[in-house]
Amino acid sequence: MLNHYPAWKNLLILLVMVLGILYSVPNLYPDDEALQVTHESRELGQTDLDRITTALEAARLATIGEELNGSGILLRFDGVEEQLRAKTAIEDALSDDFIVALNLAPTTPGWMQAIGAGKMNLGLDLQGGVHFLMEVDMEAAVLGRMEDNLSNVRSILRELRIRSRGLALVDSSHIEVRFASADDRSRARSELLDNFPELQFQNREANDLYILDLRMTQDTMLQIQRDTLQANRTTLLNRVDALGVAEPTVQQQGANRIVVELPGVQDPAQAIRILQRIATLEFHLEAAPGAPRSSYQTYDYVTPEGAFTVNVDNDVILQGDRISNVRPSLDQNGLPQVQISLDAQGGNQINRVTRDNVGRMMDILLIETRSRTNLVIDENGEEVEAVEFFEDRRLISHARINSALGRQFVITGLTQREAMDLSLLISSGSLAAPMTIVEQSVIGPTMGRENLEQGIRGVQIAAILVVAFMLLYYRIFGIAANVALIMNIVLIFAVLSSVLPATLTLPGIVGIVLTVGMAVDANVLIFTRIKEELRNGLPPQQAISAGYDRAFTTILDANLTTFLVAVVLFTIGTGPVKGFAVTLMIGIVTSMFTAIVGTRALVNLIYGRRRELRSLSIGIVPVKATPLKPTPGKGQAV
């Protein structure tokens, strides 16, 4: 018998190998140090690039590449020092609404980027940076809404002149209102029912009092949680932008947590100060024409049709903390709008101002504390970076007052996109619930580099040891196994770089190293089987075939169970455990392919077509023993 694969199978293996090499090669190209310049609200163009180049020339700094990409400008520099000096030079030359972020730009050839071959993302533990896990206080968000409801219930009862014997918050989602008579209660109930669709009403009698229980519905609580988390995430994203970090991560984790990862940030205390800063909102009227210059401030207002300036009156008519809910919605004609609900006091305040000012424009300002880095000369005469905090005030809405506003009003005349953005911005300045940092880890750049270098060295040494052992122990078959092993590593890197958006972490590297050790297991199983078959007296060609066939189910069972474990790890684990699970899963799949299909193709190429094959170079095979049972290759349960 002869062992050979059909041509398509060999071609398939060749194709996988070529793709594997192609998609893992970008990791060999070192990145350029770069700066990514963007603007808060508009796209950058050639004029901005010209301004930047002039500023760089003035500072005697040279770029090694400039390009307009997407909405920003990417500048490449030769070395970290140039990059940092250029950052300061550009920040000085441009106004504060430009964001200059440190970045790394790939140097892979364009055609590689075009086919989607990129580099692996390195985790914080391999490149240094700060990791925060922030917990949003959901209890506070729900409680805030209920306190609001409480004061609204009180004022409605007062308006209707229904006397209550007291009303109180029982817990964060439960209000009880006590009445002296069932009649009062039923009148109150029918009135309140229309005003509070988000509450459940229940009657109860105790101690001769008629009690009305108002509880927040489960749906509303979930909705509040979702809104609050989203609002907090938006706020964090805005503030992370202010830090000028390249490729920050702001991700939801679980129902009430947000992960923030800032690669390259070295001053965690500053990062914390900025992340925990609270954004606020203010409602103003537009200044009347001819108003004295000292009574207003001028702001840029950017719309898709263009930017213009607005004079905003200095008097605050409403603060953002009076807002109890914001959401984008559609009006009865299906047009997008933003729906804003205020608490009772806020409703009164806005009503008083707007009923006398129908027809004028109302403006909303978002105020955030941000930071900028300046170079100053310290007492030793050296240039050091100093962080300065400043208030950033932005006009986010400019709309006409069409009628006297009350507790609920809408802002119309927006596109769907604008309605979404505006409600997110308003939320970020008003609804965000308090957040606390529950986990934080800072990895210095030295440590990150060490971790990466040691990790890579670990993979190399482990691979060399295993390769040497396999070669000594299995000879020609060892070579096949070693080629498969190296292909396996290449494939894992290719999958991690281009197929999955995975991030390589230290535990991930350990996962790869472990795969190196365990990937040869499949080959060991196959080769031991082949040796056994040889010992049982099978001719070499049949021994190869039987060895591969009979080891297959064992390998499949063993790998499937390990894969299941990896899936469990991935599902329940977070952070490092997840990173480990990902590489383990990828490694199991690729190693099954290379160790079974790959080595078989090689063995077939080497031995498959030789009819007169007398022996195999597979290491020591003990003397033949009389087989206990004939072992036909097929037809028997394995």
């Binding site: 670990g458 190196v516 365990m518 069972d557 063993a558 684990g573 079974i596 206990l628």
Partner: protein, 319 residues
């Protein structure tokens, strides 16, 4: 030490009662130690601040301790990690600060300690990094880890029951529990730190030990079907001898890899490597003595495995 087909070179099963007693003793010791001494949980599972610092030369631990004590960090614990030039300062959370400011406090502490040591001991001190974990997250992590292990064991038991037979799944799960308990026991007895990396290692041990057990069980199943007139104990013995070569080689290559991680992988992965080395050694032993022992103890018979399985067609189409 090679086994020939059908012959028993090493009579593993003769020593099975002794092995059972030994395993039982080891597991009981491990449980005893876990119950009384417990584990030395790392920061990941407890809470507090840990600051890592690097010195240009050997770090003077005692002097550092005294320096910190003098500056008001009386609760600080200073230990070496990785090499004698790197240290780690562990600080409990100051209850007076309040949850909202803990993290910022922790971040400032790292800088402050580095500055203190630069002034007092060596200007070349660098801040390698710092970690802060609040009590709540630590607790959750421990719960998650434990839950994960139980879920993994459950799923494995189910899979083996379907693919093999119930007695085999009991064998595999008992072997896994045996490996995990003994590894945990060694961590408890030696007082080595148990952190997130060690947890990941434990989960990897599940995978590894299972791999070994499945390979042996696979051979036992095959031999039960092929060797009709052999006693179950002998069948198991023959299977163990047949797989011995493979078991040893795979354990050897895996250990090669793990020792290279241990020796050159840096301090961040040391705990992981140590846990896995223990796990691999115990796992190799348990795939021979624990899983097989349980199967024999449960009186496995040929009939248990006589379900006709048609797998060749499937196998060929996959390859």
């Amino acid at each position: 030490m090679k086994a020939r087909d059908g012959r028993i070179l090493i009579d593993f099963m003769r020593g099975r009662r002794v092995a059972a007693v030994l395993s039982l003793l080891a597991v009981l010791t491990a449980i005893g130690s876990l119950a009384t001494r417990g584990l030395e949980f790392g920061l990941d599972f407890t809470s507090g601040t840990s600051v890592r610092l690097g010195f240009p030369d050997t770090a003077p631990i005692d002097q550092i301790g005294a320096q910190l004590d003098g500056a008001g960090y009386g609760d600080a614990v200073v230990v070496n990690f990785g090499s004698d030039r790197d240290i780690r300062v562990l600080l409990p959370i100051d209850p007076g600060i309040g949850a909202a400011n803990e993290a910022e406090q922790a971040a400032l502490t790292g800088e402050a300690i580095a500055a203190l040591l630069r002034d007092g001991i060596d200007p070349g001190v660098i801040l390698l990094g710092s970690d802060y974990v609040s009590a709540k997250v630590g607790e959750e992590l421990a719960e998650q880890g434990g839950l994960g292990m139980l879920v993994a064991l459950g799923i494995i038991m189910l899979y083996i029951s379907v693919r093999f037979q119930f007695k085999f799944s009991v064998g595999a799960v008992v072997a896994l529990a045996h490996d995990l308990l003994i590894t945990l026991g060694i961590f408890s007895l030696s007082g080595m730190e148990f952190n997130l990396n060690t947890l990941a290692a434990l989960l990897a041990i599940i995978g590894y030990s299972l791999n070994d057990t499945i390979v042996v069980s696979d051979r036992i199943r095959e031999n039960f079907r092929a060797l009709r007139k052999t006693e179950p104990v002998d069948t198991v013995n023959i299977s163990l001898n047949q797989t011995l070569g493979r078991t040893m080689i795979t354990s050897f290559t895996t250990l090669l890899v793990l020792f290279s991680i241990l020796l050159i992988g840096g301090e961040s992965t040391q705990g992981f490597a140590i846990a896995l080395i223990i796990g691999v050694i115990v796992g190799t032993y348990s795939s021979i003595y624990v899983a097989s022992n349980v199967i024999i103890f449960m009186k496995v018979t040929r009939e248990d495995l006589l379900v006709p399985v048609k797998e060749d067609a499937e196998a060929d189409s996959v390859v």
